[in-house]
């Protein structure tokens, strides 16, 4: 039933009952007033309660949709068994970075991933804060037994990070996504290890 239908019925009931009281007690004005004094707030409280429950139900639906939208905006993709890709696109502030990390770690757990490829080609700006978020994500993934490969790191950005004093030595970085996926497959044992002299 619709909100207005239900509310309409509740209000109708309230009015019908009120008229009944008028009919019953019309001979005694004082008694009628006393009864209405008790009746009116109670009846109105019931109407408000009904209305509020509809509002709360709507709010619950909105919450669920918000959650779904948040998850869609940071997709963690399972490419093959034990391998996840996390393409980061756009601005990476503290809140989004946290949400991203939580989602990635949760995926690592549910899909038992051993390697995650984090592609930062689409990241808007890379500064110390963003680099820090990425490093923290990589370290947290390692604590869960997954190794991370960072792709999309242009030499220009790499230089910027080095200039900013970010330690890239602990990170496994590959220029492009394709290369990163191949490296991931080597780590998983799907592809044979790379030749010692490459390119």
């Amino acid at each position: 039933m619709d909100t207005d239908e239900v509310l309409g019925i509740v209000l109708l009931l309230r009015d019908v009952l009120a008229r009944r009281l008028f009919v019953e007690y019309q001979h005694d004005k004082d008694l009628l007033n006393a009864i209405l004094d008790a009746y009116e707030p109670a009846a109105n409280r019931i109407a408000v309660t009904v209305g509020v429950s509809f509002v709360e139900e709507r709010e619950r639906v909105i919450r669920e949709q918000q959650e779904a939208i948040r998850e869609l905006s940071t997709p963690v993709l399972q490419v093959r068994e034990r391998l996840l890709i996390l393409p980061i696109i756009g601005m990476l502030d503290a809140q989004r970075a946290r949400q991203l990390t939580e989602q990635l770690l949760s995926e690592i757990q549910s899909s038992r991933a051993k390697v995650v490829v984090i592609d930062i080609t689409g990241v808007a700006t890379i500064d110390v804060a963003v680099a820090d978020h990425i490093v923290q994500t990589v370290e947290a993934a390692r604590l869960m037994g997954a190794s991370a490969i960072i792709t999309g790191l242009s030499s220009k950005i790499a230089q910027t990070l080095v200039d900013l004093g970010v330690d890239l030595s602990m990170m496994n970085t590959v220029g492009d996504l394709q290369g990163g996926l191949e490296e991931a497959e080597r780590l998983l044992g799907v592809l044979p290890p790379a030749e010692p002299t490459e390119r």
């Binding site: 770690l105 993934a141 037994g145």
Partner: protein, 118 residues
């Protein structure tokens, strides 16, 4: 041994499964218990399952490092498994140093890694 930790022997491995949040003295008991068991028989690997810990702070981290060092002295490898996502985030933000420690997602993974090491 407190009932909050179960230690099982499997092949040449010891598996310590923590069942609930531990007090500091219980953490030290675990460390000492493992140290004693490593000494008693030939152990090649130790797996500590921390799935049930929803907080890993500097004290626990230090005890885990000590277990790994004690194990290494006897030629055994230690792997920590079951670190939960929120705990991993807290540990990294806290800057807890677990670098010398090996980690894996779960017991299966860890046993597989210990197998490969031979």
């Amino acid at each position: 041994m407190p009932h909050r930790v179960a230690i099982l022997a499997q092949d040449h491995n010891l598996i310590a499964a923590i069942q609930s949040d531990l007090s500091d003295s219980e953490v030290l008991e675990l460390r000492d218990d493992l140290a004693e068991r490593i000494g008693r028989r030939r152990v090649r690997g130790i797996v500590v399952d921390v799935t049930a810990l929803d907080v890993i702070d500097s004290f626990v981290a230090r005890a885990l490092r000590e277990i790994a060092v004690l194990a290494r002295l006897r030629g055994a490898e230690t792997i920590i498994v079951g670190i939960q996502p929120d705990v991993a985030i807290a540990m990294v933000q806290f800057k807890l140093n677990l670098t010398p420690l090996r980690t894996a997602l779960d017991l299966d993974e860890a046993l597989g890694l210990l197998e490969c090491a031979r």
